[in-house]
Structure formats: C-alpha cells, structure tokens
Amino acid sequence: MEPTPQSTPSGTVDPIHCPACGRFAGARARCPHCGTRMPRRMSLRLFRGAAILLATVGLGLLYAMVRAREIPLVRVDDVAETMNFAYVRVAGQVHRNARVFRSGGRIEGLRFTLDDGTGAIDIRVRGRQAEVLEREGRIPRAGDRVELAGSLQVTADAVSMWLQDAGALHIDRETPAPPPPADPSDVSDVSDPSDAPDRPVPLATLADIDTGTVVEIEAEVVHVRAPPAGSNAPWRVVLQDGSGAAVPLVFWDELAQRLADRMPAPGQRLRLRARRDEYRGTIQLRLLRADDLRPAGGAPAP
C-alpha cells in the first residue's frame, strides 16, 4: 500500500520526515530507515538555472528592445512633471548664440535655448561634451535648426534638458560656424561674444511668454528687499516699466555678491536679461548672471 505523506497543520507536505515510519529522513530521496520513497522535492539547482536564464536572457532581450526602440520626439509644451529623467528628442530653432562657460581656459559647460514652436527649453551641456562641440565647430548659434537627444530635468521652477552625448546633437546650418577661438580667455562665466541683446519686452507681456524663456527687460526699480539674515530666501527687486506691470526680479546671495556696487537701487532704470519663472503661481524674473544686469542706456558690465 502506498504510504500517505505526513501533513503539517497548514496542510503542506512535511518534506523531512518519512511519511511511513515518521522518522527523520532529511533531504534524502528515500527514507534511510524503512526505504520508503520521500515526497518529491524540487532541486534547488533547477531554480538556480532558471534564475540565471531569466537574468541573462531577459537582460539581453531588454537591451535589444531598448536599442530597437526609437527615441521619442517630444514637443516642448507636452513636457510634464512626470517626464522627469525621460530620455527624449527635441527639435527646433536656436534664436540666440549658446553661452559658453569657461574657467581657467577650459570649457566648463554651455547652454542654449531651443524653441520648437510650442515652447522653449533650456539645453545644457557639461564640460567634456561641450569641448567636443567646440572642437568640431558645432556650438549652436542664432539661426541654427537643431535636433538633439538628451535627458529631461523637470523641477518646479524650470524644465531643462541635458545633452549627454555630443554626437546626439545635429545642426542644420546654412553657413559654416566660425573656427573656435585660438586662445580661450580664462574668464569664468563668459558668454559668446556675438551674443547680442534683443529688444526689451514689456513686463505686461510676460504672461504670454513661456516659463523658462530668457527675456530682455528695460524697467525701473520700485523696491529692493534683501533676504533676512541666515535665510535662504532670494533678493527681491520689484521692477516696473511703461506697460504699468510690476514684476519681481529674484536672485540669490551668490549673485548679489558678484553684483557688489552694481546692486540695484530704487528709482534706478535697468536693462537686464532674465529668465521668466513662476513661484507659487506668480510670475517672476530670475537673474542668472551678474553681467546680465546693467544701467539702462549704459554699456554692458565688464
């Protein structure tokens, strides 16, 4: 008669005691005491093989899958908060020369704004890839049509894209780019020399401009508020222009130190370039570089 396997209270088969004599049999296939065949145990080796197969073949298939998949082309106005870290393509026009940031003669990075007709996005490139672009004369400049692939970074303040591979930037340019400078200056945070300012936009029109767009402004300082001591709040300079609108310009301490004696004062008329931002639903301008702020009608700051 076939012996009945012993059961545990939960109803599972007891795999280590003999179902016939009830004595300990351990992991053996037959009971060493009475020779009864033990309930079947599955070999651990089987699971090991299955795991290695799943890991390696699965990884191979996943790799093949992502390589076969075309990098999606997105419109700037379709970029949403949930797309943070997405690796995507964007295509559009560059309206202003890229800004090149140098330190000690070396390129630390560059950035430019790409407009695809639905909105503008800030494109950033780190040092090594920026060097490649400069060496190959492919630093974007005003008028270029550009297509690139990179990874999106979406924060509450702005949307930007990091170009991780210089090879993923394609430029459609009618005239060849000028050769790279023979002796790059070792001044930090220097923009391209041909980065000419645009016509100033009225403050009242900022509501119609996309967040993240860099704009030229000419306005009068109404009020300056320094951040409380020890606070991480920004400096806040309220600007007003002929359109009647008043908009705050913000910048943090690090930039305030660079401004030094050029710190805005009430009543002063300024010409500046800043990024259109929003904070808690209110439009504001964010000053990105100290050199972007100068007295109206005056020469650009040295």
């Binding site: 939960s10 890991a55 990884l59 908060e81 949930t82 997405a86 090594r128 990874s151 509450a156 606070s231």
Partner: protein, 444 residues
C-alpha cells in the same frame, strides 16, 4: 493658526495612511508616492491646487510612518525593502523563537531614536554644517563611491569550500557564492545603465523609471521564495517590556544615525549600504544594539534624505521622495524646513504609537491566514502597482530584475550586490565617464 493646523493634520494623516502600507508587505512607500503624485497632477488639472502646508507634511508623514511601520512586514512577513535586509536575519530569528513582537518593537524603538536624532541633532546643525560638508566632499564623491563599491564586493565571504574533496571542486564550491555576488553586481549594473539611460518605460511615466527594476530586484524574490519555502512561524508571545537600557539605545542610535546619515547625505548610497558600513564601523556585537541601530539607520536614511531637500542653503536632492517632489516644489526658506521638521516629529510620534497595535493586528492575521497566501497576495499587489504605473514594459523590467535579484538568494551571496543597479552607473557618472560607457553600450 490655520497653517499650523493644516500641517499638524496632514502630518498625522500621512503617518496614519502609512499604517495601511505596513499591512501590505513588499509595497514600497515610493511606489505609493508615485501614485499620489499622479493624483495630485490630476487634481491640478481639475483646478484644485493643494497648498504646500498640506502636501509636504502629508508626504513627510507618509515617509516617516512607513520607515517606522514597515518593520512589521519586514520581520513578521519576511518582506523587507532594500534598507531592511540586515534587520531581517536577526528579526526573523526573533520571529522563529516566538518573539516577533519584541523584534518589531526593538526596531521601532530604534526608529523613534532616529526621529529624535533627526529633529534634535541634525535639525539644528544641518543648515550650518551640511552646506560646508557638501562643498568639502563634493569633489571627492566619485572616488569615495568606488571605495564603497570595492568594500561591498571584497567584504563578501565564501560560504563553501570547507568540506568535500580538495581541488577544483572545492575551489568552485568556495567561489560559487562569491561568483554569484559579482555576477549579480555586474548584471544589475548593466540593468542600471539600461533603465537610467534608455528606459523602456513610457516617457510620460519616466519619473518611475527605476521603480520596476527595484521591485524586481528586492521585493519579488522575497515573495517568490516565501511562497516556495512556506515557513510556518511558531505562536508568538507579546511582552509588556523590552530588554533595553539607556546605554543600549544610545550606542544603537549613534551607530544607526551614522550609517543612515551617511546614506542620506551621500549620493546613491542607500540605507542598506549605510547599515553595512555602520555595522562594520561601530562593530556592535550586541544583537539588541544591532536591531535597534538598523531601525534607526533605516529611518534616518529615508527621512533624512527627504529632509536634506529642505535644508536652507543646501538644496540637496537625495532619495526617491526628494527626486519626485522636486518636479512640484522648490523649497526656499526656513519656513519649509521647519514645517518638514515639525511634520517629522509629529509623524514619528504617531507612527510609534501605531506600531504596537498594528503588530498585534498583523500577528493575529498571521495566525488566521496561511503565510503562503499572504505572500501570494503581496506579490499580486506589487505586480498590480508596477503594471498600473509603468505598463507592460515595466513588468518586463521587473521580471528581469527578479531574475537577477533571485541569484543572491539562491546562491547564498549578499542581496546588497543587487544595488549595482545604482552604484555602477552613478559611480561612472560621478567619475565623468558614465555617458562614454552608455555610448559604448550604444544606449545613447
């Protein structure tokens, strides 16, 4: 006054909501936060914008509560997240001795000590010293990360090779677990490059790129092997006191605070790695100190990483919660920081008070329900969450992750090796050649 009540209510609500998660094994708070963020976006679309005084304390409460209460499924149901895997071995020993309740409460006391450490030690000091620490350590992060990787790989020890015939067979036996550890690290590192550079997950859900891989690497193998092994825990005893002294709590908090704090501050290093480093650095042999310190380390890691996002003058994004929140909110002033600190304290207290009744409830459920059925239900829930958030491609990534995550369990190596998914790509990125490797792999 309204803001105060809003913050208080939201923090309590967040901590209370996390108690539901504590009853669902293997479900990570970051998966739930992903779903909540989608809900917030839907509300925004509908014109309902919740103020920061509601969203931030609620999210903080959720993270604090989960970091404390997740101890329950970690120990009683054997479903730990990555940062709790060191607690589980001694914790499950407690469970198999019928002292699961005590194991959970000990870890909870560690968590409570972690809240004290964050609120009363880190809170006042962080705005003054962490920006400085960041400036000093910033240029050195890449080599420090490689040193940590080397330590993780080299501190793996052979678990065979001591019995049987000498020669190649014994050599192979000794290298089986070591080799599996290295293989796990390399395969998960490769998976990391794929999901970080060219994830198959739809771009609309890119903020959850890495989630399916993490679920596959850490949660699915535990559920699967719980189903297969079907361990039956013995009847559990509830105690009215814990075998603790002030000295034990202090030593454990120091060790846990160090490990969790390091993990929270340092990029990519997670609670599990922090726990490993703290365990070695402080060499605490007392099992109670070990369990307590791991409870503190886990809480300090998860909550501390979120807190760093709000430290004035620091603006550090560490951990999944901060990375998800950055798309919606930019903290700027002390107001935000104090709000999060307050929410942490309130939620920590609520979560600790919930710990005992929820543990008793779970023990009652275990008595009445088949352990295997609980694991199957847990597996079902996490698969459903991955499918809902990331679709079929996410499920595929999760399956591959599960294959890799099963290797350490089956070959007896450390599950920590599966953290290669973050450590390897990020170490390459911080060293400046991550994109080169990705290009060589033809991912970009």
């Amino acid at each position: 006054m309204t803001a105060f009540l809003l913050v208080l209510g939201s923090a309590v609500l967040g901590a209370a909501a996390s108690s539901l998660l504590s009853l669902l094994p293997a479900l990570h708070v970051f998966n739930v936060m992903g779903g909540l963020i989608l809900g917030l976006l839907a509300l925004n679309e509908a014109g309902v914008v919740l103020p920061p005084e509601v969203v931030l304390p609620a999210m903080t409460g959720l993270v604090v509560g989960w970091s404390m209460l997740n101890t329950i499924p970690s120990i009683l149901l054997g479903a730990p997240d990555e940062s709790a895997m060191f607690t589980v071995l001694p914790g499950q020993k407690y469970l198999m001795m019928g002292r699961g309740y005590e194991g959970v409460m000990l870890t909870g006391v560690g968590g409570l000590a972690g809240v004290f450490f964050l609120v009363f030690v880190v809170g006042p000091l962080a705005p003054r010293y962490l920006p400085l620490a960041r400036t000093v350590l910033g240029p050195h992060l890449h080599w420090m990360l490689w040193v940590i990787i080397t330590f993780i790989l080299m501190s793996e020890w052979p678990r065979g090779g001591t019995h049987g015939a000498s020669g190649w067979a014994r050599f192979a036996d000794a290298w089986r677990s070591l080799g599996a550890g290295l293989l796990t690290f390399l395969l998960s590192g490769f998976l990391g490059f794929i999901v970080l550079y060219r994830s198959p997950v739809a771009v609309e859900m890119a903020f959850q790129n890495i989630m399916p891989a993490f679920v596959g690497l850490f949660a699915v193998p535990w559920c699967l092997f719980n189903v297969l092994s079907a361990t039956e825990p013995p009847p559990q005893v509830r105690t009215a006191s814990l075998e603790l002294s002030g000295d034990v709590i202090l030593r454990a908090t120091a060790a846990g605070g160090l490990g969790g704090g390091f993990a929270a501050f340092f990029p990519v290093v997670t609670g599990g790695v922090g726990g490993l480093l703290a365990g070695h650095a402080t060499a605490q042999r007392d099992e109670r100190v070990f369990i307590l310190s791991q409870g503190a380390s886990k809480l300090v890691y998860y909550v501390g990483a979120l807190m760093l996002f709000f430290v004035p003058g620091l603006g550090l994004r560490r951990g999944g919660a901060a990375w998800m929140l950055q798309a919606f909110y930019t903290p700027r002033t002390r107001y935000d920081y104090l709000m999060v600190l307050g929410a942490t304290a309130v939620a920590g207290a609520v979560a600790f008070l919930l710990l005992s009744p929820l543990t008793r409830l779970t023990l009652g459920l275990i008595r009445r329900t088949n352990y295997r059925a609980v694991s199957i239900a847990a597996l079902g829930i996490i698969v459903a969450v991955v499918a809902a958030l990331t679709g079929a491609s996410g499920l595929f990534v999760m399956a591959v992750g599960a294959g890799i995550g099963s290797l350490p369990v089956l070959f007896g190596s450390r599950r920590l090796n599966a953290l290669g998914i973050l450590l390897l790509p990020m170490a390459c990125n911080l060293s400046g050649f991550g994109p080169d490797v990705a290009r060589w792999l033809r991912l970009i």
